[in-house]
Amino acid sequence: MRLYRATLAENRMLRQGLHLLELEAPALAQAVRPGQYCMVRCAEEGSFDPLLRRPFFVHSIEGERCRILLQVRGRGTAWLARRSTGEKLDLLGPLGQGWRLPPRLSTLLLVAEGFGVVTLALLAQRASEQGLAVTLVQEVTQLPEGYPAALLPEEVEYHLVTSDGGAGQQRTLLTVLGDYLSWADAVCLGVSRETALQLRRRFERLRRPGFAQVAVLQPLVCGTGTCLACALETSRGPRLICQEGPIFDLQILMQG
């Protein structure tokens, strides 16, 4: 964990409300592992509104540059989306524990619900660099919300499921995932806690020890394990999402 002043090298709007920020952050690029995140100040220096940092996953890394995929959701993200090339951003990271893949893996299934795909993007990059066969299945409500597939490494297979039925019949992760699970050696879920629990109930394979992990997302305060705002009850006792997560073994996840 370190504090960085990273220079914004590029701010590309992919579509309304969706930006790809590219930061000059050599030490972070070197240190961060898939599933770790950083806390970014989203206010002018000396301004304290909004007060708290916002957590962002590193989306991808190219050389000494880290990219962050940013969806505008409130004042903090809106401020960040307005930054121009050359401006400095204040980052704290890398934080948390990343995805922990089992050894001897050849196929990896990534499952996302909406913008939860950001938890998986760097993992997709790293896993395909290591020669794993990677498939990403994403459920969105409507087609335009899909992940910009051009951002994925070419080797990654990308399947989109639309729950409003826009692309034909209505399909959800619950209806399609069975076909993929038998193929995968491990599964990483970037979905809501409710969906993760539904999937675990529906598919026996997801209940196997060490097979599936899930990113648990919620607004964070400190990111460093000091404020205790993000305590998560698990079947193995309380865990801090910011420090011991945000990635957890699916087996220990409990109803919120």
């Binding site: 504090l3 007060l51 708290l52 400190c222 394990g225 000091t226 404020c227 205790l228 705002a229 305590a231």
Partner: protein
């Protein structure tokens, strides 16, 4: 340049700090979480997370709510209990130059006394801060912190149970902290620290329920600074008149050296940085450097020249 401050100078239980910048309870854990990044070894002191006799799991989620320039929290005193703190953290603190003050929270007068007794003679524990003002635990903080008699009873019990410096952390929820400050001082406190958080609330419009889930939360952050400053000023005036040996420690929305200097000029011998640690864990060091720069720029040799400089 002299930055050293002494809490309760001349008393047996006085505490010497190398500078007036402390980190507040609940915002720096037990000091280990960001000892390195926050450069804790440069600070005057740190105050531990509020600690109870037995471990506490804390409140239901959501425990916090960000508001304009502030934060509502209802963590519910989640902590591993005093025995674990003594066993796990005190041996590490005993190797530090920076004093660690343990913040204690009890549900009865006897519990406060027992907590103080447990900490007596523990290497690595430099003082006690008595949390009479945590507004989140129904059976605890609110009852004690809002009545001068209860504050006096808790302070006296802790005073009798320890030779360590005793700081009583006051609630702002009475509107006027002078009666409780005076009660703590007369019952043997070496210092009072103020303010703790203000009880507040937000509403989740979709769920039509209060936030945090506990129902109310303690408001902290820059939003509360003017109110905290006014209360520190009033208490400093009062204690100067009636209990001049008792030090005042200023807390409430401090994010910069300017904020800290305002509290010092309002009569605080030292300050505590709280919520700002969540925004930048190095705030304490930045505040310290800013105070030094201010003193250089104004030709001030001793920080004592600034303490209470704005009092009438």
């Amino acid at each position: 340049m002299r930055l050293t401050v002494e809490l309760a100078a001349g008393r047996k239980s006085s505490l010497l700090l190398r500078n007036p910048v402390m980190l507040a309870a609940g915002t720096c854990g037990y000091g280990l979480e960001y000892a390195r990044i926050a450069e804790i070894e440069r600070l005057g002191a740190i105050v531990s997370k509020g600690t109870t006799l037995r471990p506490r799991r804390g409140n239901a989620q959501p425990r916090t709510r960000e508001v304009a320039a502030g934060l509502l929290n209802a963590i519910g005193l989640q902590n591993p209990g005093i025995e674990t703190v003594i066993r796990r953290y005190a041996p590490i603190w005993s190797t530090w130059q920076t004093p660690v003050i343990v913040n204690i929270a009890g549900e009865t007068v006897e519990e406060f006394a027992e907590l103080a007794q447990r900490l007596e003679g523990v290497p690595g524990v430099a003082g006690i801060e008595v949390n009479v003002s945590c507004p989140n635990v129904r059976a605890g903080g609110r009852v004690f912190g809002e009545s001068p008699e209860a504050v006096a009873a808790v302070t006296a019990a802790v005073r009798q149970s320890t030779t360590l410096p005793v700081i009583v952390k006051l609630s702002p929820n009475t509107g006027d902290a002078r009666p409780t400050a005076l009660a703590a001082a007369e019952a043997g406190a070496d210092a009072v620290s103020l303010i703790n958080t203000l009880t507040g609330m937000d509403i989740d419009l979709e769920a039509r329920r209060p936030l945090p889930a506990h129902g109310t939360g303690g408001l902290s952050g820059p939003a509360i600074r003017p109110l905290a400053l006014r209360m520190v000023y009033e208490v400093a005036c009062e204690l100067r008149e009636r209990q001049p040996g008792v030090a005042v420690i200023g807390i409430g929305g401090i994010t910069s050296a300017s904020d800290a200097l305002a509290f010092i000029m309002a009569g605080a011998v030292a300050v505590q940085i709280g919520t700002a640690n969540f925004v930048n864990p190095r705030t304490g060091v930045l505040v310290l450097e800013g105070i030094e720069a201010f003193m250089r720029a104004h030709g001030i040799e001793n920080i004592a020249e600034l303490v209470g400089a704005a009092l009438p």
